[in-house]
Amino acid sequence: MSDNVASLEAAFLAHRRQRRVLGLCGGVVLGACLLVSAIVSEASPAALIDGAPRALTYFAKLIPDLRLPVLFDGTATQGSLAYWMYRIDLWAWLLFETSQMAALATLAGAVIALPLCFPAAANLAPRRGIYRLFRRMLELLRAVPDIVYALILVWTFGVGPLAGILAITLHTAGTLGKLFAEAVENADLRPWQGLQAVGATWLQSVRFAIFPQVLPNFLSYVLMRFELNVRGATVIGFVGAGGIGQELYSVISFNYYQEIGAIVVLIVLVVSVIDMMSERLRRAVIR
């Protein structure tokens, strides 16, 4: 009995020692990586100590100077809500534009992704080569960030919302195509086999056997992507591609502190409202 306990104890200790050595090695490697990346990214303690108070004062300036007694006064009184949000009409319009850009881009991206996703699904692709080709294509579309697309497209389509919409569309087509293809790969293949057995063509089988099954999934992914694209669309204006981003870029450049705070608060509000609506819709779609 005591022998058993002793051997168990020994095994436990050996196991613990081994885990500790492994943990120590992992810690050393992690520490070395952190040190190297801190040096490369110029994050020295001196720079941090120097930068931290400046960052804090900067963010403190963004907080509006609201005073309770005059909170609901007009735009002329300093410290009132109206004074803080004095250009709310313009900002609300720009935010609406941003959300519409995101909606149109998501829709267009989904329309592009739809025909690409079926050949990119391993279980439906007629040939292995076709599957690979479409997968690579989607990867290529997805891998370039939408801001980079926007930088390039602003050259050819000019400054304005169109460049932003197309940039988000291209990136969205890549991400949605991959998600769609994965949904198709998880679809039940029996309806497909049934249609193939009665002599339906590939297109007919996709339309009547697979598409009805995956449509709720597709819609839910599109809504999810729409939420992400609204966030993306708020910054795509930084490179001149329309929406609230252009305005935000200019107020940040001119150091209009209170306006930065106001716009960011509005963005957060709009994004959370859209998130909530879209989440409710998604639940309804899935059910």
């Binding site: 110029e42 149109l104 930088l151 390039i152 490179v239 930065i260 960011v264």
Partner: protein
């Protein structure tokens, strides 16, 4: 039974009810109006589209063959900066987010009101995009990769805290209860009852966020926050398209290799 007879016998299967058909038609009409209105608003005309696409093809033709250009050392340095920014930023954010994650978990902070407000706070901060943080930090601490690191930290904390909180809420509560049963404090419950269970999941989420941050760290340079983004933006400004395509390919390779390594690590952690 032939087709016509079937139609006569089961009309409901072959045609939709009138009301629903009207509903669909109305929906389609509204959708069409919305599309047309947006096209007019954003000045999306066929002429503009074809003109732009033609310009795009000119650019694409100039992109091949990709060339590293004479300043390829800067490109490599930018790439290293991007990866380093993502690594440092993710690690710091992962550490800061840990206590916040426990604060946001319903089985740690039981008060519904507190739980709700903490989670809404995460959601609110998550609504601010990384590039906005980057632009603000560039103004606050100056141009360079440090602003990028801080932007990644500031944007990633809330994302990770939310993911952590969800993972902690999904933890098995029996282990925590047994710690309570032997008289452990609340801190002991978290340390010995919850943390060992959720740690691999949390690490997997950190790795996942590292992958996504390497992608986003590559564009922070567009607003001056260091990394390869600055190199891309500069070359696009002077229309060195062959070097732009070179950087994009380099970026794809880097991101893909980091994804592979991280996916392997994640699989080992979860298993």
């Amino acid at each position: 039974m032939d087709d016509a007879a079937l139609r006569a016998r089961y009309p409901a299967v072959f045609t939709r009810p009138l009301l629903r058909r009207c509903g669909y038609a109305l929906g389609a009409l509204l959708f069409g109006c919305w599309l047309v209105a947006l096209c007019i608003w954003f000045e999306i005309t066929p002429a503009r589209l074809s003109h732009g696409v033609a310009g795009l093809f000119v650019i694409l033709r100039q992109m091949v063959p990709p060339r590293p250009g004479s300043q390829w050392l800067d490109i490599l340095q930018g790439l290293a900066e991007s990866v380093a920014m993502a690594f440092l930023g993710t690690t710091v954010a992962a550490v800061i987010a840990l206590p916040l994650g426990f604060l946001g978990a319903r089985n740690v902070v039981v008060n519904a009101m507190a739980h709700f407000s903490v989670r809404r706070m995460f959601d609110g901060f998550r609504g601010v995009d990384q590039l906005i943080w980057a632009l603000a930090f560039v103004r606050a601490v100056g141009l360079g990769p440090l602003a990028g690191v801080l932007a990644i930290v500031a944007a990633d904390i809330w994302m990770l805290a939310k993911l952590y909180a969800e993972a902690i809420e999904n933890a098995d509560r029996h282990q925590a209860e047994s710690i309570v049963a032997v008289g452990g404090t609340r801190l002991a419950v978290i340390r010995f009852g919850l943390l060992p269970q959720v740690f691999p999941v949390l690490l997997a989420q950190v790795l996942y966020s590292f992958e996504s941050n390497t992608r986003s760290a590559s564009i922070l340079g567009v607003v001056g926050a260091g990394g390869i983004g600055l190199q891309i933006a500069e070359r696009i400004k002077v229309r060195y398209w062959d070097e732009v395509s070179f950087i994009i390919i380099l970026l794809l390779v880097t991101v893909a290799s980091i994804d592979t390594v991280s996916a392997r690590l994640r699989r080992r952690l979860i298993a």
